[in-house]
Assembly symmetry: D2
Homo-oligomer: 346 residues x 4
Amino acid sequence: MPQTTKAIVIHAARDLRIEDVPIADIGAGEVRLRLATGGVCGSDLHYYNHGGFGAIRLREPMVLGHEVSAYVTELGLGVDGLQVGQLVAVSPSRPCGNCRYCAEGLQNQCLNMRFYGSAMPFPHIQGAFRQDLVAMASQCVPADGLTAGEAAMAEPLAVTLHATRRAGDILGKRVLVTGCGPIGALSILSARRAGAAEIVATDLSDFTLALAKTVGADRTINTAKDPEALAEYSANKGYFDVLFECSGAAPALSAGIMAMRPRGVIMQLGLGGDMSLPMMAITAKELDLRGSFRFHSEFATGVGLMQKGLIDVKPLITHTLPLDRAVEAFTVASDRAVAMKAQIAF
Amino acid sequence: MPQTTKAIVIHAARDLRIEDVPIADIGAGEVRLRLATGGVCGSDLHYYNHGGFGAIRLREPMVLGHEVSAYVTELGLGVDGLQVGQLVAVSPSRPCGNCRYCAEGLQNQCLNMRFYGSAMPFPHIQGAFRQDLVAMASQCVPADGLTAGEAAMAEPLAVTLHATRRAGDILGKRVLVTGCGPIGALSILSARRAGAAEIVATDLSDFTLALAKTVGADRTINTAKDPEALAEYSANKGYFDVLFECSGAAPALSAGIMAMRPRGVIMQLGLGGDMSLPMMAITAKELDLRGSFRFHSEFATGVGLMQKGLIDVKPLITHTLPLDRAVEAFTVASDRAVAMKAQIAF
Amino acid sequence: MPQTTKAIVIHAARDLRIEDVPIADIGAGEVRLRLATGGVCGSDLHYYNHGGFGAIRLREPMVLGHEVSAYVTELGLGVDGLQVGQLVAVSPSRPCGNCRYCAEGLQNQCLNMRFYGSAMPFPHIQGAFRQDLVAMASQCVPADGLTAGEAAMAEPLAVTLHATRRAGDILGKRVLVTGCGPIGALSILSARRAGAAEIVATDLSDFTLALAKTVGADRTINTAKDPEALAEYSANKGYFDVLFECSGAAPALSAGIMAMRPRGVIMQLGLGGDMSLPMMAITAKELDLRGSFRFHSEFATGVGLMQKGLIDVKPLITHTLPLDRAVEAFTVASDRAVAMKAQIAF
Amino acid sequence: MPQTTKAIVIHAARDLRIEDVPIADIGAGEVRLRLATGGVCGSDLHYYNHGGFGAIRLREPMVLGHEVSAYVTELGLGVDGLQVGQLVAVSPSRPCGNCRYCAEGLQNQCLNMRFYGSAMPFPHIQGAFRQDLVAMASQCVPADGLTAGEAAMAEPLAVTLHATRRAGDILGKRVLVTGCGPIGALSILSARRAGAAEIVATDLSDFTLALAKTVGADRTINTAKDPEALAEYSANKGYFDVLFECSGAAPALSAGIMAMRPRGVIMQLGLGGDMSLPMMAITAKELDLRGSFRFHSEFATGVGLMQKGLIDVKPLITHTLPLDRAVEAFTVASDRAVAMKAQIAF
């Protein structure tokens, strides 16, 4: 058995390398995996393009990646429910199970979270973009019947299912989605699955808006070209019941706030820094602005919904490149004019 | 203009007549309608087969019917948003708008409700199975793009959308439906639209269970033939997250209670008399048994979801008979071995 | 009967006059009232000190006042449930009862609201600071057993009860209150009544903080003198379950956000303009920032709680001045170093 | 150090003995306790009077008791936050921390619960009525400032706080409590703490009703003497917003159902067998019947509320007897005509 495996390692902004890293031992309750597919996420791109975001900065080399599917190659002691050869979606979320928030069932708020590919604590939490990966069996959800690419979409899909669940009643409601990258597009799929009657989506890129329409948006607005279109919805205190804010941009959130009807619910998924918000509108219309961050049980939920054909993410996978073209995958993923989700085939 | 119109009038159990009744004047805010289609509901069948149910008894002749679609033939003063010739779904719900519950937005609990075809107050509230009908414009939801039969399904669909909305989070959940008449079958459609991942349905009729599968049940159980099948789900405190109880039968509810996981939600739609329930299971598993009755805003919601193709009720309309065969429609609708929803074309 | 009555009229910033205004006729369903007590509210002070706030500006003379109690002097046709001579708390909220939001039970979001003493539409909605006032009987809640001053506190108390109800589960929870003017102090009373276990309050004035302690705060922090004290609560992702933000000041809200535990609920009562907020903390901790505006059913709720002795607002009434010293009442009410609630005895 | 300690052991119905049982070793994370006070609970009485309840039967001798306070006498390895000599309330709830429900934060629904003094699994879970008790430190909540008797009330108080929290919005609401034993009386205290405006309580015993009034009921009804009094509340669809059903008796629950207003919430705390319920009223009024069972975080919450003086349970402790009169304590506790809560001083 080889002693090393290939991994995608970020050293600094724009310094991404395919390197040999040591393979790990397998312990009880763990499985050894051969990576199938890895999706490039916005946070991966922040490390690649900027070396971090906000106060979170790279301080040592880090294996990237947290959207992965894999084939099981070996079962550790005591593992059941999985089989060698099986395709699995691998959750990057590893809560401690013991802190106050884990005990409350809020595992995504774990005080000791070790989420794949995060520079937040130091030493950094190494990621999953490596051909040979050892994971806990509990991270692995059987993905029989899915393509490896679909299975690798389980992670971002879980993010939007988590937000959709937290948004409350969506059945028959009017939904606005601001920002149509992968999270925005998956929010459209999730909201439609939860019964949204009308979905309007905004972005600055015609390419992503066309895909938004493909996956279910009733209307799309390019706010770069048509900056006033959303304002139509502000009459009589506003129109939308639910907003999925996926851009992390203050102008999108502010425009969304003005378009919300009283008591509307805003799910904030987009990550951004400080933003200036129209607080008078939030207060007087009694809006409900809720942060939404990662996921927990929704990871398995998403795999199940894809397996049943109840959510179809395939149109969103616009690029699949082999491992040796990983840098190219990061480059293309950074360009919203041509890419939605770029994946790497390991 | 004629002075009378044909109506379907119940005089007593098994005494259903097609009679001439006076046409009504049209007032401000009202519309005159030519009935298109009327669906036969379980409560209509109770009047037809038994002259009432429980303490509610027929005491005078009553026009039946509350699931209707119609074409607009005349607009009263001040009506806008509707056009002559347009197909509309007609809501049978006429809350007063002024009582305590209307003021709280609980119009379906109105203290002065005048719901079509109800023997509850006396004089009875006359129903909508009449060729010429005058209704408030606010009862009419434009149904362009739907068939008259679909539009007449808006009422029972609203009942299940109301229950689904009240059930809370269904996205990715396990749902049990007990009783697969029209309300059970529409609950399957509504639950799937709201994101249910797995749906198991029970009934005593193979005919209705086959249709339940057509509209989305993952598994069906004929509890007459396989009385122990549901008990499989009781291990480890239970399996299902949500139960739509649509039979109104105590054995179905009790079996469902045992199959629910802790904190599961039971929506009781089926109407029945006193029932003996396993209260220890309800208490110890902290189940949540919620009555669900009629609807309000969900009437328009359902029309919209059908128009968008997000819910398809057509497979459930098994019989359509002309007005002069109305008695036959009531007879066939009473037989669950051959009929799901029987409608009358006016 | 006299043809005019004395009223407190604002003409422009710092131009407040006691004038004779015409008395109104009494209609069916209305009552004539002799004003007892009127409380000076923050919005009254904005008109007095600045001629308005934000985009809302005085454009014509306006009777001020919306926190009032009164004695019934005459009953209009059809009024029952009230008696001549009875003390009543008078709700300044007059929703239309017919718009979309009224029909949903969200009367405080009425599209056609006529709230006493508001310059928002033009002509302005005249206020209640007038010795002879005609109101709808439905605005009047019997206040037997209360002092006139207490009854005049029903309005701001309703504001905080509305926010408390919307905050969800408070029983046994940790509560932070930022800004301890009358709304902050009443939030302390409301949160304690709803079962808050621990209440920390912040302000810039020692005077108001001392009163905050009197009405139930466990700890008070003068953030002018001790700007770092609140930061202690930020460790391990934060401490408080619920925040009542009553200052309308961005620094208070931002400091509060950092002190909230994950999934904490922030009720925004304070009115302010655009604010720059730490959105990363809101998103990553999945905070829930909810606007809270005015009230509806909580007006009568508050009167009842005061009558039962379950909430005691008397310590908050720091000044009571006669009508001819109304200008002085506005001046003292503007000074947080010496006044909590200033009232005018009519 | 002695090898045995005195314990209260039930052998069969009416066969209660004070016996010597082996003392336990203390392990890491554990504490040794000298029992202070133990309250006699309804389930203890079922074992004493009937040898069990429903399908749950004594099959071997079992130490009774799960409402206890104690003094810390020894700290196991790694224990901090507790001190020798300190009074603690000891939670009898020992969830596994690993099952599906523990992971969801529903520890009271743990699949592997080891709750003190339960005959449900076999071998039975031994209880806490023993002078020397070894417990996990995590079961112990410091109770400084409370009497030992108050601290022993933390367990039943937690039961009612759990139900109150699950009942949702109670602030300013009308509450009915059926059954005024200790759980009913503590429900009154909990509901009032959560802001109930009006509380009506029913029972068959004037003694318990007098205490119900002492702790906050506005009105009490002896349904044995005045069986029609509750029916007054049924007009116009009903009156109460929330019902705490603490009797476990079908007539009480049924009468309560008729007195509830539409959308009212019924918390079922009383344990009973199968009950015949008026399902038509539940369905048509859309009532919400929720089981409530045990507690989790509310144990510490209750201790805190008592320490702050926000809940006063002392009036409910009607009898305190020494260990050698334990049998007498069980006898008196069985008689609702003279006892509310009987406790044993160890």
